[in-house]
C-alpha cells in the first residue's frame, strides 16, 4: 500500500496488551483515515452504554493517507472519542510533528483502550511500542512533561501529552502535542486522564512513499503555485498569523464580545494581528511540511510562548471584555501549559462574568477585569474553588446556577469567535455540527466573508443549506486526508483528489471526496442519534435566535435558523426529524442496523 501503512496499533492499558491489526481495504477506501476511520471505529466499538470517562471509552489516534508525505500541511493527525463535555462523537485534529512521526513509525493509527492501574506513558519507536510507568510525570505541565520524556528517551521524539487539566478530568481539557499544538476541543484531555495515560512519545524513521512520485511532484508544483499566489496563504497568515482576521471580522460586525452581547469590540485594534506583530511577535513557527507558517512565538514582558491564535485571542480577550494583549497572551500560554481548550475556557469564563454581573453567581467577576483571568485558568485546571464548576464547561456551569441562556454553546461545546447573526450560514453550520459549536465543520465565513471561492450575501438564508452541506462534506474528507483547512483557501478539492491519487495509486475524483465526506457526516449523525440526540439539539443559544445585534454593520440581525434547517434536512436526504433515511444510507454504503 502507498499512503497508508495498513497497520493500526492497539494498546489495552487494563491488561497491558499491545497488538497490531490490519483494517480491510474497504475501510481505507471508504473512510480514508483520520476523522473518517476514527468515526468507523468508534461506531463499532463504543456504544451508547459507554460513559465517556469510563475505561470502555477509547482514544483513537489516526493519521490520513497524506500524513507524512510531501503534501503541504500534511503533518496532521486526529483523535476520535466520545466527548465527556458533549456526549457526542468527537474528533479533533492537530498539526506539529506528531502525526507524521506516527506514520513514519509504521502505523496509520493507534487505539488506546482500557485504563492503567497507575499513571503510564507510551513510547513508540519504529514499530516497537512499550508502556512505561509515569508516576514521575504525573502533575507536571505540558512543557515539563515533554522535556522530561525527551530527556529520558532521547532526541527525535514527538510527545503528545496531557497537563494537570487532563489529569483532573477537566471536561474542557485537551491533548497537547509538540509542546503547543492542541487537540483542543471537547475534553479529549480528560478522556486520556481517565485512562491514567500521561503521554505518548513517538519516533519514526520509516519512509512514506507515494505511488506515483512524478505525478505527485507535478500536482504539488501546481498546488504550491496557488498557495504562493493567494494573499491569504502567502501574506496574511504568514505575516500576521490567524489574528489577521480580528480587524476584518470586527469591521464586518461578526466579532463577538462580552459573551455575544455585542458583535464588535471597541478595542479590537489593540489585540489585532497587526498589533501582535508590532508588539509581541518574536518569530514564526509552523507545522510539518507547511509553507504558510501561521503560528508565532510571542513574548510579553514576563514570558515567552506560542500564540495566541485567533480563536484563543478572542476567547480570552473580547469574549471576556479584556483588551490587555499581554494578559491574554499569558493566559494563552498558561492554557497551553496546563492543557486546556482556550476557546471553551474563555467562553466559560465569559459566561460566568455575565452571570456574575446579573447577580446569578457571587464571584466578584466582571467583564474587562484582566486581573483575575490567569487565576481563573489555574483554578479550572486544578479544579480549585469555583474552577471546579467552570471545569465542567459553560452549559453545565450555567445550568447549575440557573442561567442556561448565558451559556454560548451548541450541544455543550462552546462557540468560537464568529457572531452568526452576521453570517447566517455560519449559524446553520454551528447548529448542525456533529461535535457541537464548531467553526471548522463548515467554515462558512469562507464564502460569506472571505469570498472563498465566491462571495455570497452573508445576511441571506437563501442557498445556505446547500452550501453548508457542501462544506461540511468536503471538510470531513479533508479531516480524513488529513490536511489543514487553510490549504482549502488556496486550492479546491480538485487538487486534493489528484494529490490523493498520486499518493495512494487509487483513482480519486473530486466527487469521490464529497461522497466520502457525506458518508462520514452521516455516520457521525447516526452516532449522535444512537446516543439520544435529536433534532432539538440542532439549535443555537436563544440570544442568537432572538436578540438582534444592537448596532454596527450586522445591526438588527438574528440567525434565521428555522428555514435553513428545514432545507438542510431535506437536502441531506434526512427526514423532517433529522434522521437519515435508509435510502440515503444505502446510497452511501452505510449498512446500519
Amino acid at each position: 500500500m502507498n499512503g497508508w501503512t495498513g497497520k493500526i496499533l492497539r494498546i489495552n492499558l487494563s491488561d497491558s496488551t499491545i497488538s497490531v491489526e490490519k483494517p480491510d481495504q474497504e475501510s481505507y477506501l471508504h473512510f480514508l483515515g483520520g476523522r473518517g476511520l476514527g468515526a468507523e471505529y468508534l461506531w463499532k466499538e463504543v456504544g451508547p452504554e459507554v460513559k465517556p470517562l469510563s475505561q470502555e471509552n477509547k482514544l483513537i489516534f489516526m493519521t490520513g493517507p497524506l500524513t507524512g508525505t510531501k503534501v503541504p500541511t500534511s503533518g496532521r493527525f486526529s483523535v476520535t472519542s466520545k466527548s465527556p463535555l458533549t456526549g457526542t462523537i468527537l474528533d479533533s485534529n492537530s498539526g506539529g510533528l506528531w502525526g507524521a512521526r506516527l506514520k513514519k513509525a509504521g502505523y496509520d493509527g493507534l487505539i488506546i483502550e482500557g485504563k492503567a492501574e497507575k499513571p503510564v506513558y507510551i513510547v513508540i519507536n519504529d514499530k516497537e511500542a512499550h508502556i512505561k510507568e509515569a508516576g514521575w510525570l504525573w502533575g507536571k505541565n505540558v512543557p515539563e512533561t515533554t522535556e522530561m520524556i525527551v530527556s529520558r528517551e532521547g532526541n527525535g521524539y514527538s510527545v503528545a501529552c496531557i497537563g494537570p487539566a487532563g489529569e483532573n478530568l477537566v471536561k474542557i481539557s485537551g491533548i497537547m502535542n509538540d509542546q503547543s499544538r492542541a487537540l483542543g476541543r471537547g475534553g479529549l484531555g480528560a478522556v486520556m486522564g481517565s485512562k491514567n495515560l500521561k503521554a505518548i512519545a513517538l519516533r519514526g524513521s520509516l519512509p512514506v512513499k507515494a505511488a506515483d512520485e512524478d505525478k505527485l511532484n507535478f500536482v504539488l508544483y501546481e498546488t504550491n503555485k496557488w498557495i504562493k499566489a493567494n494573499p491569504i496563504t502567502s501574506q496574511g497568515l504568514p505575516e500576521f498569523g490567524t489574528p489577521v482576521l480580528v480587524n476584518l471580522f470586527n469591521e464586518s460586525g461578526i466579532f463577538p464580545s462580552y459573551n455575544f452581547q455585542e458583535s464588535q469590540f471597541e478595542d479590537a485594534d489593540s489585540i489585532s494581528g497587526e498589533t501582535i506583530t508590532e508588539k509581541i511577535f518574536v518569530k514564526k513557527s509552523g507545522c510539518y511540511g507547511c509553507p504558510v507558517q501561521c503560528s508565532r512565538v510571542t513574548r510579553t514582558k514576563a514570558e515567552e510562548g506560542e500564540g495566541p491564535e485567533y480563536e484563543s485571542l478572542w476567547a480570552l480577550g473580547p469574549q471576556c471584555g479584556i483588551s490587555d494583549l499581554e494578559v491574554i497572551a499569558e493566559a494563552n500560554y498558561l492554557c497551553n501549559r496546563l492543557g486546556l481548550d482556550t476557546i471553551s475556557t474563555g467562553v466559560t469564563i465569559g459566561c460566568a462574568m455575565e452571570m456574575a454581573e446579573n447577580n446569578m453567581v457571587d464571584l466578584g467577576l466582571k467583564f474587562g477585569d484582566a486581573s483575575l483571568l490567569k487565576g481563573l485558568v489555574e483554578d479550572i485546571a486544578y479544579r480549585q474553588g469555583i474552577g471546579d464548576d467552570l471545569a465542567e464547561g459553560s452549559k453545565s456551569f450555567a445550568a447549575k446556577y440557573g442561567g442556561e441562556q448565558y451559556a454560548m454553546q451548541v450541544k455543550g461545546l462552546e462557540l468560537p469567535a464568529y457572531d452568526p447573526r452576521g453570517v447566517q450560514g455560519m449559524g446553520l453550520g454551528f447548529a448542525t455540527s456533529n461535535r457541537g459549536g464548531c467553526h471548522l465543520r463548515a467554515y462558512m465565513v469562507g464564502p460569506e466573508i472571505l469570498g472563498v471561492p465566491k462571495m455570497v450575501d452573508r445576511f441571506s438564508t437563501s442557498g445556505k443549506a446547500g452550501l453548508t452541506i457542501f462544506y461540511q462534506n468536503i471538510n470531513a474528507a479533508m479531516d480524513s486526508l488529513i490536511i489543514c483547512r487553510f490549504i482549502g483557501l488556496a486550492v479546491s478539492e480538485e487538487y486534493f483528489a489528484r494529490l490523493l491519487t498520486a499518493v495512494t495509486g487509487h483513482q480519486y475524483q473530486p466527487q469521490d471526496l464529497h461522497v466520502i465526506g457525506e458518508r462520514i457526516w452521516n455516520l457521525e449523525r447516526l452516532y449522535n442519534l444512537r446516543e439520544g440526540f435529536t433534532q432539538l439539539d440542532d439549535t443555537l443559544p436563544e440570544r442568537l435566535l432572538k436578540e438582534p445585534i444592537k448596532k454596527g454593520p450586522s445591526g438588527g440581525h438574528v440567525v434565521n435558523l428555522s428555514p435553513m434547517l428545514t432545507d438542510y434536512y431535506r437536502f441531506r436526504g434526512w427526514d423532517s426529524q433529522g434522521v437519515p433515511v435508509s435510502r440515503k444510507l444505502t446510497e452511501l454504503g452505510l449498512e446500519v442496523k
Binding site: N230, P231, Q235, G236, L245, N247, L450, G451, P453
Partner: protein, 196 residues
C-alpha cells in the same frame, strides 16, 4: 471612487478584455492603495469589492485583496503610476503566445503605443518574479503583455490605464485579422517601431 471602478470594470468586461471573474484594477492613494477584491467580477463591482490596504505594509485587508496585489505594489513603488489595470485581452494574449513583441500595424496604435513588449515568466499569477521585472518595463511602456496571461497597463487615472488596455486589444485584433486575410500589407510603417 466606486463609480469609476465599476464603470471601467463593466466596460472591460463588455469589451471582452476580461472574462467573468478575471482581471483587477487599483489606484494609489499616497502610502495606501485601493484594489479590487480577489475573485470579484469587474463587470459588477460593488463597494465592498474595493479593498484598501497599505502600499508597503500589509494589514488584515490583505486577506481580501486581489491575487496580483504584489505586482500592483511593485509597480507603484517603482514607477510614477497612480492607477493600474490588469486584463486578459483575448487577441493580445493569443498574439503573445506566437510573437516576441506586439508592433501595431494600424495608425492609431502606432501613434498611441508604438510597441508592446511581451515578457515570459514561469509563474504568471501573483508572481514575485513578475513583480520584480515588470515595473522596469512599465517605466518605459504604457502597457506590457505577460505571455499567455494578460496585460498590465498604468496611468494617472484608471481611465487612462483602461485606454491603453483597450488600444492594445484593438491593435491585436487588427494584426490578427490582417494575418487571416493573408494579403500583403501595403504600408510597412510598423517595422521601425520594433526599435521603440
Amino acid at each position: 471612487m466606486h463609480r469609476e471602478f465599476s464603470q471601467i470594470g463593466r466596460d472591460l468586461f463588455h469589451q471582452g478584455l476580461n472574462s467573468s471573474h478575471s482581471g483587477n484594477m487599483s489606484i494609489r492613494l499616497g502610502d495606501r492603495l485601493v484594489i479590487t477584491r480577489r475573485g470579484s467580477m469587474l463587470g459588477r463591482l460593488k463597494e465592498s469589492d474595493l479593498i484598501e490596504t497599505g502600499l508597503d505594509k500589509n494589514d488584515s485587508h490583505i486577506t481580501l485583496a486581489s491575487t496580483e496585489i504584489g505586482v500592483h505594489r511593485s509597480i507603484y513603488k517603482n514607477t510614477s503610476a497612480l492607477a493600474i489595470v490588469h486584463a486578459h485581452p483575448v487577441y493580445a494574449t493569443a498574439l503573445s503566445l506566437v510573437d516576441e513583441e506586439i508592433i501595431p500595424i494600424d495608425s492609431e496604435g502606432q501613434y498611441m503605443l508604438h510597441k508592446i513588449p511581451i515578457l515570459s515568466f514561469e509563474h504568471t499569477v501573483g508572481s514575485e518574479e513578475v513583480a520584480r521585472v515588470l515595473p522596469e518595463y512599465l517605466k518605459e511602456y504604457k502597457v506590457v503583455m505577460i505571455r499567455g496571461h494578460g496585460s498590465f497597463a498604468t496611468g494617472q487615472l484608471i481611465e487612462e490605464a483602461y485606454q491603453w488596455t483597450s488600444s492594445l486589444e484593438n491593435i491585436s485584433k487588427i494584426i490578427y485579422l490582417t494575418r487571416t486575410l493573408q494579403g500583403d500589407i501595403k504600408e510597412k510603417k510598423s517595422e521601425k517601431y520594433g526599435q521603440w
